[in-house]
Symmetry: C2
């Protein structure tokens, strides 16, 4: 395009006008990387994107047509902040089957799960409040809560997920350091992003027991819970402490991310506060996309679709794991074997700094997210990387994993 | 629906966990009213809803089909925080024609204009910072900025819009009271919500001159600019000070509100900060609705559609004004004659408190928004009301205005 700019716009320094909280805001490494990795010759394991070739295009098109034709004048109008009532009912019913004692009044639709994290920060976090979370943890949460001046105390994570035995000590440490208790604990129980681990039933119960004793609210972030490849579903933490848990999930991984639809399940007393915060943030989530998602859900399409996604992603996980066994320096590395979700977490020898090494990987035309991005206090993950296995087709997974394996071997002087 | 809740969920007191900022959050009177006024027998002038019978249903349906069929795998995927590039280009071009020297890099898509207000608060407002605005002013802005601890210093508004001669005094008063300058001035130049007034070219230039001297940034909120019924367009304030102005607009009033699509035009230096804030807030605005809006825009549909809306809303404004002349106690009341937009502002005799009077109006099955809702310091508007003329069909406008006139006359002992 050719814009005829007839005059120069002067530049001013906006520094003096910026709010202090902007100092804590950082651009997401992942999102900046996504730009880089959009070059078509790079095989990217960096994003957290679902496989677009399995988007239910026909169903979305049909739902759009049905919604516009039958309810267009309401589906395109302003709507209540809480969300579209039939969709809230559907979600309450689904949550209930999943073990969460929710009624529609406990459910609020959000503009993706990211907005749920932002709203939680807005109503709960005062400048300097501590949040307890695992190391590593989901960086979108860190990004949301940094705006509100959160600080983080981390507990370790092993193959069984968050080491819940460390929670009490973490609580005491926060109390000692900041003279106030931590605001809440943030947990990703299923197929952890970035670690790929799952919290066992035993640990969930222990977590509920310990946090109950400490009166510590729980944020349970569960975007991947429905994408289990093997084993039995484990009841969500919210099942055991619904009065103290804010549960989050999303349509991004089961339907499509481009609709931007997530939801919060929370106690009614808190709902009023979240509604007020959301009114100020964006009035309400898009009416149209809620009607479209509702139509797709009510037709019973989601369950068989998710069943298919499970098969697709399980196959891709297996292909990646097999290729790692084949091409990686297996003696020097270790990685998680996720039971579901989109990611696995690989640890390489300490001599390799995965942030520096990314440049070399990009030369080999393959990308990942360096592990240190997921440590809110920047105190770990230097020898780790997050690998996504949902986005690339099978042959690209093999080739990308091979390229990464060769780059690692080169770096270690093995080839 | 019948949820089998097999056990009682205990309730806990969330009070001790809430962030201090929640004390400043209030639920929007308008949005609470919207619930009340959804009873089918009430004629509501309370909302700010566009006329749903003129939503471009066929065009939305066609755009949805085209987008899903031709670009579904990208249109339903995650996408860049800044927004969909072709839509940013379209908007930059449109803004440029409108007098704003924008390039695509100056444009960011938001989840409605409300999110733009929230993001501005997030990057600019520190606890206790003052914002200068008119009295009355748009309450969505107040709601957004209260979360960040804003305070407000108001200047008067008359039939010619904000009284710009008062700005310098307001600036000095803020400096004196808070020992720091106000953060920015918030202006609604076209068909003000709630007042219906328009800022003259002379006042716009004066505003730019004064704020330039004071180095005061300008937030120019222009959701209705395209809905002018009569007279010539006046160049936006941003035309005269693009380096210092953040300009906001939206598709809500021209296309439909249910897509939740607005945009910000701002200097590039600030864009980076807004992008970071938006990443934390909701990652990005819905990909799908951006593609749909872009398709409708690129086909050149919007211009003739807006032309039609202008005619519809002008007619409705005239019908309301005529009905007020006919049924209202004209000697005792006065009201604005907006040149565009969705609202007019009526002042009734001081003996009538419009908040109390709303109950009586509801008995007569008619609703409006009490004027005091639009005064951020709760220091005025007690004898005023905002009336929306875009939503109701002509016969309902006449009947509702008649009911309100009769209620007013009863209250004044005239019938």
């Amino acid at each position: 395009m050719n814009l005829d700019l007839t005059r120069e716009v002067p530049k001013i320094d906006w520094g003096p006008y910026l709010a202090n909280r902007t100092e804590q805001m950082k651009s997401s490494t992942i999102r900046e990387l996504l730009k880089l990795t959009q070059q078509p010759d790079i095989i990217s394991f960096a994003g957290g994107l679902p496989a677009p070739e399995f988007f239910p295009l026909r169903e979305v098109e049909e739902a759009c047509r049905y919604v516009v034709q039958s309810e267009g004048t309401v589906a395109l109008q302003y709507s209540p902040t809480e969300g579209y009532r039939p969709l809230r009912e559907f979600l309450a019913r689904t949550m209930h089957k999943y073990g969460i004692p929710a009624v529609p009044e406990n459910v609020l639709l959000t503009s993706g799960s990211q907005q749920a994290l932002d709203l939680i920060g807005k109503i709960l976090i005062n400048e300097g409040d501590y949040v307890i979370t695992s190391r590593p943890t989901y960086l979108g949460a860190i990004q949301a809560w940094n705006s509100y001046g959160a600080r983080y105390h981390t507990v370790n994570l092993d193959d069984g997920g968050m080491v819940v035995d460390e929670i009490e000590h973490a609580y005491e440490k926060v109390l000692e350091d900041s003279k106030r208790p931590p605001k809440f604990i943030y947990v990703l129980p299923n197929f952890h992003n970035p670690a790929g681990t799952t919290l066992s039933l035993e640990r969930r119960k222990k977590l509920v027991e310990v946090t109950g004793r400490l009166n510590l609210p729980i944020i349970e972030d569960d975007p991947y819970g429905q994408l289990r490849f093997e084993g039995e579903d484990i009841p969500p933490i919210c099942t055991f402490a619904p009065e103290r848990t804010i549960y989050l999930s999303t349509f991004s991984k089961t339907l499509t991310p481009g609709l931007r639809l997530g939801w919060i399940v929370c106690p009614e007393a808190l709902m009023r506060r979240i509604v007020m915060a959301k009114q100020g943030a964006d009035l309400h989530t898009g009416t149209f996309v809620q009607y479209v998602a509702n139509d797709i859900c009510q037709r019973g399409f989601l369950r068989p679709h998710v069943e298919r996604l499970r098969q697709v992603y399980r196959e891709r996980r297996d292909i990646m794991l097999d290729a790692m066994e084949e091409f990686w320096p297996v003696e020097q590395c270790r990685w998680t074997h996720p039971l579901g979700g989109l990611f696995l977490w690989a640890q390489v020898p300490e001599v390799i700094n995965t942030t520096d090494f990314l440049q070399k990987a990009l030369v080999e035309k393959v990308a990942y997210v360096p592990g240190s991005s997921f440590y809110p206090n920047a105190d770990g993950g230097f020898d780790a990387m997050r690998l996504n296995f949902s986005f690339c087709p099978p042959e690209a997974i093999v080739e990308g994993t091979r390229r990464l394996g060769i780059a690692l071997k080169k770096e270690l002087g093995m080839v």
